[in-house]
């Protein structure tokens, strides 16, 4: 709230204020009594109102994780902040404050209703994440340019908008501009937009809107393309063969090779390179295709495994549930019998019988669990073996293909060496016809120099190829290890412990129930 004289001390959101507000706005009557008795957790609160409190800074609200509606109107807040933890917020009211910039709303993705009425905002911005925005009130602010409204086009659910009282409302085109530029709008400044207004507005701004739409579509398409590309790339990456469907490996071999450009100038080398590149790209493509195929195969295998495990678990679960249901029926009957019985001897017998039944139930349930553990263990072993085989086969095939690349490189190396020596000889004899670049000339000093250069280039290439190979193998093996680790942990250890705990808990509960009952009958 803007005031001329800040006579009142600004208030701070502290424990007391929150507690008081929560209690005031909490449940009433009997529920209120209970609530008071046990206290209200801030995490349970869904609505909070902090109005007319002279608050300067939004703070200390991080406990209200489940807050759905927050009203902080009529304060002297200057910045939107401290709301990052309120992820469930749907309704936010910050009207009649001193906010100048829209900010700090990025984590409120569920927000549908935002009120910033009567503030000092001059630009619409930083609201990209509020995709569900339905009602937006930004009247009585400092918005000067109609272009601000173009920003609102991105909210596909925005139906109600309040803009009155901004400087740009003076503009006679304000209304048609708003209607035309925010196509989803149904209510503007508390009034229904009728067909005529809409048609007129659309006519007026047709060209501008068309341009906007075209831009937006282009952007959208670009985004979709990029997304698809990213998806495809990540798929390839999962298959460990990213960038192998082109000359990427070949290029990288020569990129990090300082000798390559020099040697490339040797006569006849360029043709050699073309052939080399072609062959290598061909083999890379093979690796790529093979990798993708194998990846899909592995994926299928894993899915099938999980489906089977799930099936077994559900079957086992159903068995357990039936058993427990049967027992519950027995229990009901037994408890009814207990209540009826008066003879202590018979009662004792009955209780003993019940206890035996409970033990039997425990045995059965544990038996089921052990059976499942055995079954899963076998299956997991099978799966592990099959997956290991698959990975080994894949690795071997990749190695085979990459050794072909290596052979290519070796052949290439020998040819270059040959050319280099011949060129050297010619150079020494001054029989070379063409101009030779200076860098190459430096190498053509003697045989050792040129041989070294060629070898260095070869080594670099070899290193690149080896690295790529190692990379694929390592990642494949790593994936397998991680998968198996996870399966063992999740499917065997954690599951088993949970189940055993659950069974024991249930059995304990049954015994406890019996004790309670006995106590009552005993008394």
């Amino acid at each position: 709230m803007s005031r001329l004289y800040d006579t009142v001390e600004p208030a701070v959101i502290d424990e007391d204020m929150l507690q008081k507000a929560v209690e005031e706005q909490g449940p009433k009557d009997e529920a209120g009594r209970i609530a008071k008795q046990e206290g209200i957790d801030f995490t349970d609160v869904t609505q909070l109102r902090l109005d007319f409190k002279n608050i300067l800074k939004i703070d200390n609200l991080w406990q209200f994780k489940n807050l759905v509606k927050l009203q902080m109107d009529n304060n002297i807040i200057e910045r939107i902040e401290g709301l990052d933890t309120l992820k469930n917020l749907v309704w936010l009211d910050l009207s009649f404050n001193n906010i100048e910039v829209i900010d700090g709303l990025d984590s409120l993705t569920k927000l549908e209703d935002l009120t910033l009425y009567n503030n000092r905002i001059s630009t619409l911005e930083n609201m990209d994440k509020l995709t569900r925005l339905h009602v937006f009130s930004i009247g009585n602010n400092n918005l000067g340019s109609l272009d601000n409204l173009v920003y609102l086009r991105k909210f596909k659910n925005l139906q109600t908008l309040n803009l009155g009282g901004n400087p740009f409302c003076e503009d006679e085109n304000y209304k048609p501009f708003a209607v035309a530029h925010v196509p989803t709008l149904v209510y503007l400044d508390f009034r229904l937009i009728d067909q005529n207004t809409r048609a007129a507005a659309e006519e007026q701004y047709r060209y501008a809107i068309e341009e906007l739409v075209a831009d937006e579509t282009a952007l959208e398409n670009k985004r979709i393309d990029q997304e698809e590309k990213d998806k495809e790339f990540s798929r390839q990456k999962d298959a460990y063969v990213e960038n192998l469907n082109g000359p990427h490996l070949f290029d990288s071999m020569f990129l990090d090779d300082p000798e390559a450009p020099k040697l490339g100038a040797l006569p006849g080398v360029d043709e050699l390179l073309v052939v080399f590149k072609e062959k290598m790209v061909g083999i890379c493509k093979q690796v790529f295709d093979h990798g993708l195929a194998e990846h899909a195969k592995r994926q299928r295998e894993v899915e099938e495994f999980y489906a089977c495990v799930q099936e077994a678990k559900i079957e086992n679960k159903d068995m357990g549930i039936t058993k427990i249901q049967d027992f519950n029926k027995y229990k009901k009957k037994a408890f009814a019998d207990f209540a009826m019985m008066s003879d202590p001897q018979m009662l004792e017998d009955k209780v003993d019988e019940f206890n035996q039944e409970v033990t039997k139930l425990w045995d059965t349930l544990m038996g089921y669990e052990l059976q499942l553990v055995d079954q899963l263990e076998d299956t997991i072993k099978d799966f592990e073996r099959a997956m290991a085989d698959m990975v080994v086969v894949f690795v071997e095939q990749v190695q085979g293909l990459i050794s072909q690349i290596r052979d290519l490189e070796n052949v290439h190396h020998e040819r270059i060496l040959e050319i280099a020596i011949i060129t050297l000889e010619k150079y020494v004899k001054n029989e070379l016809d063409d101009e030779i670049p200076e860098e190459l000339r430096l190498l053509l000093v003697d045989k050792d120099t040129i041989t070294n250069a060629v070898s260095a280039s070869h080594d670099t290439h070899m290193l690149k190829i080896d690295n790529r190979e190692d990379d694929i193998i390592q990642r494949a093996n790593g994936w397998l290890a991680a998968l198996m680790e996870r399966i063992h942990q999740e499917e065997e250890v954690t599951r088993n412990r949970d189940r055993v705990k659950e069974i024991n808990n249930f059995i304990d509960h049954l015994r406890e129930e019996l004790d309670n009952l006995d106590l009552q009958t005993g008394m």
Binding site: P27, D29, E30, A31, I34, A35, Q37, E38, I40, D41, D44, E304, F305, A307, C308, V309, E311, A312, K313, K317, G320, I321, K323, I324, L365, Q371, L372, D374, Q375, L376, D378, T379, D382, F383, R495, D498, R499, K501, E502, I503, N505, F506, H509
Partner: protein, 860 residues
Amino acid sequence: MEDIDEGPSIVVETGSVDLQGGGDDDTQSAVPSEALAAVEELKEELDQITVEPPKVDLIPIIQVDENLPSSYKENNNKEKLVLQYAENFRRQYVHLYRDRKPLLLCPLNECGVEKFVCTTIRPTLLRYNELYDYDGCAEFVSDYVTFDPLVPPIELPKTMVSPTKVLKTQRGNCFEISTLLCSLLLGTGYDAYVVCGYATRETTLCDEAREICPLLKMKNEIKKEEQKKEVKKYSVKPPKDLRSKFILKQEAREVEAQRKEEEKRRKEEELRQEELEKPPQDELFGLRVHSWVLVLAGKREVPENFFIEPLTGNAFPTGNDSFLGIESLWNNNNYWVNMQDCSNGCKDLIFDLGDCTRWEYMFPNNEKPVLEIPELEMDGLDLEDDEDDEKEEEKNLDMPTSWVDALELSLTDFQSRCPQGKKTLLYKRAKLEKFAHYLLRDGMVTRLSIYHDRELKDLIQVKEWFSHRKDMLDLRVHNHRTGIVTEYYKEGRQRHLKEHLYKAGSPAAETDRTMIFFHHARVDGLVKREETPLEMTEHFLERDDFLFYRHVQYGKRQRRLEPASTLPSSNPRPILKIVDRFHRNPAKPASEDVAELVFLISEDRIQLTFHHQDDKITASTRDFLKPANASDKGAILMYSADMTSTFQVDPHQKSAKDLYIYNLLVSLVDQEDKTVASVRESEEEVREILNDRMAEESRSDLEISVYDTERNEKAKQHRVERELLQMEEKKRREEMELDYLAPFLAQIGDPERLMRQQALKLKEDCRADLKQRLIDEANLIQARFEKETAELQKKQNWYQQNQVNMHKDDEEEYLAFCSEAMFRIHILEIRLNRHKENAPHKYMALEQRLRTDPRLSEHF
């Protein structure tokens, strides 16, 4: 006379024997030897007096209907030619195949005229949709026409009436019915033939008492498809079986032996039963002449050749046992004689009509592809070759068009289907009755009674099908063994009842019954409601609140001191317990999603069981004791911690807050009230449905389509009114025409009857009057003519006088006048001539009219 069941003819016969026997009585006692001789004599005499049963009319008493078209009564030249040709064919056939039975070629029609069978077929397409497919046609024909057996059953009939007559009289023998059916099938585009052959007694007599009713057969055909669980690669192995293999084997063997024993017994039983039901031996087996329809594959997407039995309307594969052999077959194009061996019934017959070694055809213009026969096989076929040659010469002979009128069938006849709209069929342990639509007041169309024994005494079940019922009742099954009635309804009822199952003896509310509903149409998604006197179970589908099951237990109604006439709703049965079950609501966590909610109303307790969490075998539960003031309206519920107890699956989970539990309790108490209310609503609904049913059953209104102008009263009334209006209009117009006798009658004072004198005078007057008038008219024309000529004359004179000093305009005017006058004169002249010509005719016409006039005719 009571004990003598025979017909009157037999009575006469015995009378005649008595006359002679009366004389013999005396002789027998007095003189035995003589008597013996006399008796012998008498016997001989008696033997001679054979009873001649009125011979089945070779030529039936023909009452030639005058209205029949001439094509029925005589043969045209072409037909005569064909008849000669057929006769020639027959002679050759008899000559060549002496041991074969004669062919049915040219029986007499209803006018006693020989007609070639192929021309008796009249392909016709009727306008009813139901008759577009062969099964519809066959069913209709079998229903519509009552069948007369052939007499004697081993001879071909001498007559064969036209299909039009069959349709009209609704009677016919198997040949006539086949011809009718074949005509309809050809009309709808099937490749159909009338077959003349031999069949079993049951078939020829249309006796289906040993067949299972087709309506019962259909049910058995629904097969269960077993779904086999596929074993996946990683499916877990089943747990080890720790039982003794040996014992298992031993047990299995025992079970197997028992099963075999059972099987054997059952088979024996079946055999015995079959033996019992076998028809008695038929000494005429294989000789009984029959006719049916053959449909060949090819046209109308018929995949395989098959027979249609016209008497029952059933279709059979060509290998069926009932059909024992084929002599010949024909349709409107040609006539084929079977050359194949029928000793094995029709199983081995090949219906390749183009193959002349198997099928000898009569007309060379065989449209079937002719099989090429290699020369080598021609040994035995020389004769046929000759015939073929003969035919070659007469290739120009083709089939004359049918002599039968186009078949017609009125809508009412079509709808009534059977004669009088009723038909009863007997099957093995079942009786099927068919009724025409709208025939019965309650709309019943079909009734099937199933019996336990063959004598149709021990009733098991009655099924009644209805149509056009306003209350959408479709089928009612009454099981007489259990006394349970099941009614099936079509969609569109109020409250969307689909099936209603109840005991016939106790139709009132609060008894055993099951109602099944169209849940899609219902707001509450109710599928089924089962009731017993103290229980009610409801099943739901696709509800927003995930409720799928509700079970209510009632206590005994408390007796109150009230007048017995009070409504049941004023004193409902007390509810003891309500169990609601819910499906999993994926939006809620399992530990808060209620799976089962039990209101123990009599104990003031509420029990909750929550859904199982993923992978958990135990479910959380929570019990509430209802607070003491829960039943007070508007009171604030009090709460204390000992009112609830719980079991939580996860012991580490923080126990719920009291506030949450309190709110839960409040909502549950609220829900209990609502649930009770909805249970009461359900009870009320049942009562209303039952009341509705009672009312509907007593009214049993039938729905009449607005397009059905015959039955729709409103439409009919409208039409009748329009017709009346038209009649009136016509009458009025008739009156407009003047009565030529009226003025003369008026002169003599409009007497009721005319005396002869008066009549003569009247006639004379009338004649004279007309004569006078005609003459007057002629005179008038003449006068006009003269006047015109005189005027023209005058003008001409005037012209001649003033011709010299005449203006050009005047001259022109004069010329125009002249031509016009000439034209008028000419017209008058023509008119006069025509009048002169017509006058005698008119006079004669009047003369004629007077002679035939009803008022005068009696006197002349």
